[in-house]
Symmetry: C2
Subunit: 683 residues, 2 copies
């Protein structure tokens, strides 16, 4: 296992692993943390700001509630982390929330979770990229001036990277994530030192501004509602926590324990950073407003629509490190990078979840194939397209996009935790060992609390954000749910239709003889090969069939046939309108109605070519003929390929495609053990 | 032959003819004339105006040259008609200019003519539609105010009509064309009566305007050049004359004689209308300017960019009939309709020429099939796309588009006439009968004069219009020429590669045994059918092959296999990465390298479905597997279809498609006799 020893070499050379070596690439905790946690860790780049932003509606005085909201977020984070540590132990197979809900609550709950997760992946891309652009924009003006464009370009870049199949490497994640975490901790420590020990007054760039409260003197129910909305926004810090529960198989042994430890570590880091940034924001007097153009006042005058409101993390960094200082730039760059990595997470998760859903026949079967390039490409393009649409509609504004974000997360949190409670209930019925029962009781208590708390948050999020955009996310979920149920229904119907009846014989009229037909246009190598193959496969009757579209050519064919002494009878059908398909189909139908117990085997010589435009020049008639013949019962169609020289090109391309690296390979871990349907059955 | 007796019924009901009845639909002259002549006849709607427009550059005084230019156009028209009467007699097969040039001057000349004709078809659509919109606009303001939009909508309508395969009917052409011709003759007669007999002063709406000459006092070479340019523009009246020579097989017997008569009739009508309109324009003092906004003065002041310059034919009609009078409206409507029909001509000619070119392997073979919907559709979409692009670039301005138009026409005229001269030379060498020789000498003299005259016009057109837009047409021709030569080269190379060697055996290693493999995923009806078919086609070895992507499913398959007592050995390949294609391809390759003289026959059970989205849900793996297998030499792939219930839908759709009417069916005539390669060889 060379994962850590050759870090510099791998960064420089990026040696791709062949997929049959995939089993060896297990992640140590220090690599697993950044691989799985870039999403939740990076969310501290926007979550604190969202809290202040919502509070500002009641004026700057409401800011003093922010520590309480931070506490609530921390408690929620601990709850969720504790709950998922139970998931990780109970479901080491990496099925994640979908599997937990599917197994314990039934397919509808599973499909709901799946829909929520799919929507969430789209939003992860949209929110992370938008926020990344905003953070980069605090250091580079051009980016913030062309925000939508920059976000679109970033999404396109990520899409191309993933379509090309860039190998996801642990180090790619490790370095920026650790730089980011390190820089944030340095900032918190340095800020605390300057503020508490040195007694410096640090001032954020917005410290001198005033906030015009949109609702002055807010109180009572309205205040509670506002605080709940601020809390909902702060919950953005929790997105992506569930990623580790999908990735247990990628951990080194003991897998579940390592995954649980990594979860705890991630929770601790996220919470510390979140609270630290909120604290620094209070200390440096950051001002954020939902509508900065009108609600932020400089000497009593609104700052106007030209004003750019920078993220809290960059304002705080400016206060602590100084604008344009080296550390300020490093933090801005690392923040942007980690956010882009978080977006990349979705590019891995989306097709991966797709392949699990395909296994359960909610999506086309071919998505199930691991690393099938075409299948992954479709998923990636769908993801990128949806994310770009959102970025475009919402002007790459992370604040607006976050309104949509949290619903899906908490739908899957809640259903997953309810599923866990059921899981323990079932196990408790079977378990007799008192120690095990005690552990299970404890786990169940944790999951029950988790289900209760996340469920409450879900209600709060729905109530406070529905009109602000959560309805869009719900609509997306409904669309995914509907599409996937329809696909499943189709597969079920087909599978019923084709189910083999009992007993040895099935088809009512079983064919007893084969009548073979070789389609011939000229006597050339492809035709001769098809004839040779057809002769080899012995059938009861064999004839060559040619469609005469030109008497001169037909005459030449007949003469050549005789001259060469080909010992297969040549049948020629006239086609005055130069049609190919119709005469052949009618001839075959005629044979079938004369001898209903004969099967007809049609051999078609096919050119194998290498370039896409060559396809337009060859085989078109053969393709269409085949399409029509397949509708006729009792017919089979054999393609006898003749490889033209140019086909070598296509062969090489196909080989290259086969060596393609599917996104998400690292985080999926090895697949030697298939995902068991219900691990409870084993326990 | 019910063509004429059921005119009203056919107009109302439009009963579509089955293509096997195509042979019966031969055209009498009175129907053939409008079918083939809507293009040249309709061009009198814009050609006279173009002459005046160019002359106006030298000021209104230059208008007195217009009768001389009309005379030149008449002489040219007579020459071309006389020449093509020779073509029609010599080539009754309907190959047209392409065939004449190809046969007599070689494939390069043929391909040049073909390229010129293809460009011409595009321009016929663009010019006719633009002019039609302008003529309609003289009666309906909305149309002229949204000229580009109206033109685009018309092109889209024609495209949809032709894509749906609306049956071209002789009557569809006859009525508007005769109404148009009749209305123009009534106008000329009524105008002559009013002017010459009654002595009325008829004034065109632009009679009161003055023209600011762009070049005052033009003389000498510049004047000659200007007159030549005006003549070139007037030559637009000749476009489409060659159409009859393509359509000889559609005439009733004696085909050539009837076609020649129709040609003469068309020439006489076109010439009379052209001269009549020029004469009336002079009499009613029509003023046309190339840049009306600045060069047309009303009381010494430019009319400005708001001014709409109506076509000469509508200005004359206004002067003769009065603005808004019934006959004025009838003429405007008939003119527009005939121009749209002229555009429709190209929709028939373009795919038809394509099918002839496909026969000579300059275009993909499948275009050759008569009435192949897909092939025709591609041609129609290409034609419409190119025409719309031109209309959009040139603002649907017929004057600008005409600059591009005439080049192609005269390229094909000239090459065709040169080809005819060669044709007669060759025949004269063989002919001994003095009477026949005399006729040939006469024909050769006519064609020589035609070649000379049209060649001169081509030079004039190129010289006077190259920078005005003719280069665009030439570029289009070069692109068509290059593409078609490349396609031909490809086919030649392939045909060389696949040419069968002499002697009975060809393949170096001829397979001696067949190893058959049936791909199995589950035991269901499609699999059982594939197994039954494979057994029926006796091979030396038969086994079933399954790829294990899930141990549970594999175990179930094995048990089911044994339980049912299927007497075919079941081989199972492991695929930990859930790939299907790679293990199968590698297994087959392994078999081949163990026994190089074995052919491998792979049977794939395939679902036949009816809806497009069902294709996404089925057979994808099979399709890709098949694609990969075909690259392996010595392998044949057999699809054993299983028709799902929904496949009935697709079957019905396919039937409907088969009954589709290809555009251009009427003008092509029957196809019972194939186009002979060189009729000279028979004479």
């Amino acid at each position: 296992m060379s994962k850590l020893t050759d870090v510099p070499k791998r960064i420089l050379i990026g040696r791709a692993l062949r997929s049959d070596r995939l089993g060896e690439t297990l992640l140590p905790k220090r690599i697993a943390l950044p691989v799985f946690a870039s999403d939740p860790l990076s969310s501290v780049a926007y979550a604190p700001g969202e809290v202040l932003l919502v509070l500002s509606i009641a004026g700057v005085s409401a800011y003093h509630f922010s520590p309480w909201i931070a506490v609530a977020v921390v408690v929620l984070m601990f709850t969720v982390v504790a709950s998922y540590r139970q998931n990780v132990h109970a479901y080491p197979s990496g099925g994640g929330d979908y599997e937990v809900a599917n197994t314990n609550l039934g397919p509808r709950a599973g499909l709901t979770v799946a829909s929520a997760l799919l929507v969430d992946y789209v939003l992860t891309v949209a929110v992370s990229i938008s926020s990344g652009v905003e953070n980069l924009g605090s250091a580079v003006d051009f980016v913030i001036e062309h925000k939508v464009l920059s976000a679109m370009i970033m999404i396109l870049l990520l899409t191309l990277m993933n379509l090309r199949g860039v190998k996801e490497s642990g180090n790619l994640f490790a370095i920026p994530t650790y730089v980011f975490v390190g820089a944030v901790f340095v900032m918190i420590a340095w800020g605390a030192w300057r503020g508490l020990v040195m007694g410096d007054t640090m001032e954020a760039p917005t410290a001198g501004l005033e906030i015009k409260a949109e609702h002055q003197g807010i109180a009572g129910f309205a205040l509670v509602f506002l605080l709940l909305r601020a809390f909902s926004s702060g919950c953005a810090a929790l997105t992506g926590v569930e990623a580790i529960s999908n990735g247990v198989p990628a951990f080194r042994k003991p897998k579940s324990k390592n995954a649980a430890t990594t979860l705890a570590l991630m929770g601790a880091l996220a919470v510390t950073m979140f609270c630290g940034i909120i604290g620094l924001a209070m200390a440096t007097d950051v001002k954020m407003a939902e509508k900065p153009a009108t609600d932020l006042l400089e000497n009593g005058v609104p700052v106007g629509s030209e004003y750019v409101q920078h993220p809290v993390i960059s304002q705080v960094a400016e206060a602590v490190f100084g604008n344009g200082s080296f550390l300020f730039i490093v933090l801005a760059a690392a923040t942007a990078l980690v956010l882009f990595l978080a977006a990349n997470t979705a590019y891995n998760g989306f097709p991966l979840l797709g392949s699990i859903l395909a296994q359960d026949r909610y999506l086309p079967r071919q998505l199930h194939t691991r690393g099938d390039r075409l299948a992954f490409s479709n998923g990636i393009v769908l993801l990128a397209g949806a994310a770009m649409l959102l970025v475009w509609i919402y002007d790459a504004d992370s604040t607006k996009l976050i309104q949509l974000y949290i619903v899906g997360v908490f739908v899957s949190f809640t259903l997953s935790q309810i599923g866990m409670v059921r899981h323990w209930n079932r196990h408790l019925r079977a378990e007799r060992d008192p120690a095990a029962r005690r552990r299970m009781h404890r786990s169940r208590a944790i999951n029950t609390f988790g289900a209760f708390f996340t469920g409450m948050v879900l209600v709060v999020v729905l109530a406070t954000k529905f009109t602000h955009g959560a309805w869009v996310a719900l609509l997306g979920m409904v669309i995914f749910y509907g599409t996937m149920s329809a696909i499943r229904k189709h597969y079920d119907r087909v599978s019923e239709e084709i189910a083999a009846a009992e007993g040895p014989s099935d088809d009512s009229v079983r064919p007893s003889r084969v009548h073979s037909i070789v389609l011939v246009s000229k006597v050339h190598k492809p035709t001769l090969r098809a004839l040779a193959f057809a002769k080899l496969t012995r059938s009861d009757r064999l004839e060559a069939l040619s469609i005469s579209v030109d008497p001169v050519e037909t005459k030449a064919l007949r003469e050549e046939w005789e001259r060469r002494g080909i010992n297969v009878p040549l049948k020629i059908l006239d086609s005055p309108y130069r049609e190919i398909t119709r005469p052949v189909v009618e001839y075959v139908k005629g044979l079938r109605s004369e001898n209903p117990r004969d099967a007809v085997s049609v051999y078609i010589p096919e050119y194998v070519v290498g370039r896409w435009y060559e396809h337009l020049l060859h085989n078109q008639s053969a393709l269409r003929l085949k399409g029509r013949l397949l509708f006729t019962p009792g017919v089979m169609v054999t393609s006898v390929p003749y490889q033209l020289e140019s086909s070598e090109l296509a062969k090489r391309r196909a080989k290259k495609r086969a060596e393609w690296n599917a996104p998400g390979a690292v985080r999926r871990g090895p697949v030697d053990a298939p995902r068991p349907k219900d691990p409870a059955a084993k326990g």
